[in-house]
């Protein structure tokens, strides 16, 4: 069984994001880059299948050289090998372009399951997994919190407004992971020592025969509005404060 996990390297959620002077990208100088947290669920699920089914796990990432760090982290967690599609200008590419590139790189790996995070926490587009399924003509089970692999089939659970949708599909397929699927492990010490010895293949867009043809362009990035300071409700007595609170909720906040 072959399993591929696609990994995006994203800014750490604790990093302070600053918008660059072009107004449509972010300052990347002081950013700490990490594996997209949703992708970690994919890696963990793949590693469970590695143990249970003897599956071989390949992690695939695209972007500049720094993406190697995220791939090495997955190798240290236990993945068997990695592929980096190296391109200095890939961060922020049109998700459909990303999917085309990944599909090309994944196809020769002959996967039974391709895992993605259900979305990346940086641009929140949530498109790539589905688009790869489309390009590879595979069924997709998106936003799942439970995966059970049978003989040539897979069953998955998707939470829907408190209910659970149980999906079944043949293999090969694409699965996108939602929070709750599992508890991702940490890279272990022996894993860290072994990670560097595991194969990491570096290929280029030219190797894949893909040319960038982005249809989608980010035209502007705006920071969220600054949070207005809190307001203390005035009043001498509890009753008075309550009256003023209701007044504020009605007239200013307009919520009642």
């Amino acid at each position: 069984m072959n399993i591929v996990v696609c990994i995006k390297q994203v800014p750490d959620t604790e990093t302070q994001i600053k918008i660059a002077s072009d107004g449509k990208s972010i300052e990347t100088d002081d950013i700490k880059w990490v594996m997209n947290p949703y992708d970690e669920f994919g890696v963990e699920e793949a590693l469970v299948l590695q143990k249970e089914k003897g599956a071989e796990v390949t992690v695939v990432g695209a972007g500049p050289q720094r993406v190697t760090e995220a791939l090495r982290t997955a190798l240290a967690m236990g993945a068997d090998k990695a592929v980096l599609i190296e391109d200095d200008d890939f961060y922020g590419a049109d998700p459909i372009t990303v999917a085309k590139v990944l599909a090309k790189a994944i196809e020769p790996l002959n996967p039974d399951i391709i895992f993605f995070g259900q979305r990346a926490v940086d641009d929140d587009s949530g498109v790539v997994g589905s688009a790869v399924a489309e390009f590879l003509d595979m069924p997709q089970l998106s936003v799942v919190t439970k995966v059970e692999v049978g003989d040539g089939t897979v069953q998955a659970h998707r939470p829907v407004e408190g209910a659970t949708l149980v999906l079944e599909s043949t293999l090969p397929c694409v699965i996108t992971a939602q929070k709750g699927l599992n508890e991702p492990r940490y890279a272990s010490l022996p894993g860290i020592m072994k990670a560097k010895k595991k194969p990491l293949e570096v290929i280029s867009l030219a190797d894949l025969g893909v040319e960038r043809d982005d249809k989608l362009e980010i035209v502007a990035l705006n920071p969220p509005p600054e949070r207005a300071p809190g307001k203390q409700v005035e009043g001498e007595t509890g009753q008075e404060i309550a009256i003023n609170l209701v007044k504020l909720l009605r007239e200013e906040a307009k919520v009642i």
Partner: protein, 386 residues
Amino acid sequence: MLYDLTDEQRMLQETVRRIAKEQIEPGAAERDAKAEFPWDVVQVFRDNGLFACDFKEAYGGAEMGVLALCLAVEEVAKVCAGSSLVLLVHELGSMPILLGGSHEQKERWLPGLAAGEKLVAFGLTEPGAGSDVGGIRTRAIKKGDKYIINGTKQFISHADVADYICVACVTDPEAKPHKGGLSIIVVEKGTPGLSIGKHEDKLGIRASSTCEVILEDCEVPAANLLGSEGDGFHILMKTLDFTRPCVASQAVGIAQGALDVAVAYARERQQFGQAIITFQGLNWMLADMDTQVEAARQLVYKTCSVFEDVPKDLSKVPREAIRLSAMSKLFAAETAMKVTTDAVQILGGYGYVKEYPVERMMRDAKITQIYEGTSQIQKVVIASCL
């Protein structure tokens, strides 16, 4: 030489930082309040193979070296100094075996220690022997294939939970301690005559246990002697040479943890209509703290890089390594005390209460100036290297 951490060391640092934040920080205040040995933390370290850091692969270790261990200690100490002691004491207790143990002894004890299934303690200090090893009174007398040990050890970290205690004993009362009078004998848990006495109620590092160890006609197989009779002083000193940078990294971690809290607080706290970090009186304090912590850290890392090349056997430690080891411990411990005290000052009233972690960090910092050689003893060592 590349003046930076290796990819593996950086990945370890990142991983432990995350483990510390997610698994260890949430319980830090409670561990301090309850003052109970942190078995949950031991399990976290076991699960992630962290005990294996500085053990050779041949004995089940990861063979990442002493700098890697120090990086792990630093990250844990940032959020919970008491928990970092689990790694620290493990290294301290294992070191005499790593240095003086025969292949057979290593095969017997090290795999369990590398996995963290077994814990170990270091029994040096006595009521009358702290800085002065010459005051050791615990006596081991050889009878056939056994040693009969009598004596009392004081302030022994984790002795109550340890499966093995490396005990420093007098085997030749005629000889001076540094001239062959002392030996190290591994006493296993459950040995008749070994008992744990009083548990200390401490100012800081309260999650760790500190106890008295009583040896009363304790019969230990002669095969548990490390090295030869009389190697004790050298094993002790070399053990401390190796582990002082680990204590120093604990101190750096405590200091960094307090600094991080102080900076975050100073950014948030408004007084006179502005964040207090905008006041030069405070941000210069923070600048000094940051500089001191970084200087201490670099000294520790440098020391570790020198120790990576010091063989773990009974060979002599190069003077340069001893000098750096003492300096890193001295400077990092003094820095930790100063930086945590200043962090409490920056938080003002909030710094003095348990709602914020800096008062705990200030209490935790104090021990780094005391154990594994006081700051004053470090100065004696440094001066002797001049």
